[in-house]
Symmetry: C2
Subunit: 85 residues, 2 copies
């Protein structure tokens, strides 16, 4: 996992907020909160959506959301949510 930059991560999350909340608390009970989540878990989850190894739930939506992001983008986004207080 590349070192993530939370400041850059914030800039890269305009679409994440609709489902995961602008404060990292999901507006729906069936969507996960991301606030304070483990950065490496988030990074691995997003990579697993991209490579298809993680299925179920909103996996196809997540894959579509992530497909244009680089590994560094994903690390930055992971760090951003992980550091959220």
């Amino acid at each position: 996992m590349p070192d993530g930059d939370a400041t850059k991560g914030e800039i890269k999350t305009p679409s994440c907020r609709f489902c995961h909340g602008s404060n990292g608390i999901a507006p729906r009970p069936d969507y996960p909160n991301l606030k304070g989540q483990q950065a490496e878990y988030l990074y691995n989850s997003m990579q697993a959506y991209l490579d298809g190894s993680r299925t179920g739930g909103m996996s196809s939506m997540m894959k579509a959301q992530l497909k244009n992001l680089s590994d560094q983008d994903i690390a930055d986004i992971s760090e951003y949510y992980s550091q959220m207080k």
Copy 2:
């Protein structure tokens, strides 16, 4: 999802704590924190592990952990972690 009982849920989580922490904060950065997570998301995730629709990550470990639990158990456990402060 059945209505969950957090008090009963606590009793049903002896094995969860090894990977998710006794305080709901995972001891490893590649395992998810569960503290304060959305109950319905947790419930749906565990059901998806059980029915095989959720793959990737630690899905086979999770399926083994959950296989002897009832829907009510899973709702209680979900509520327990969701209410953790």
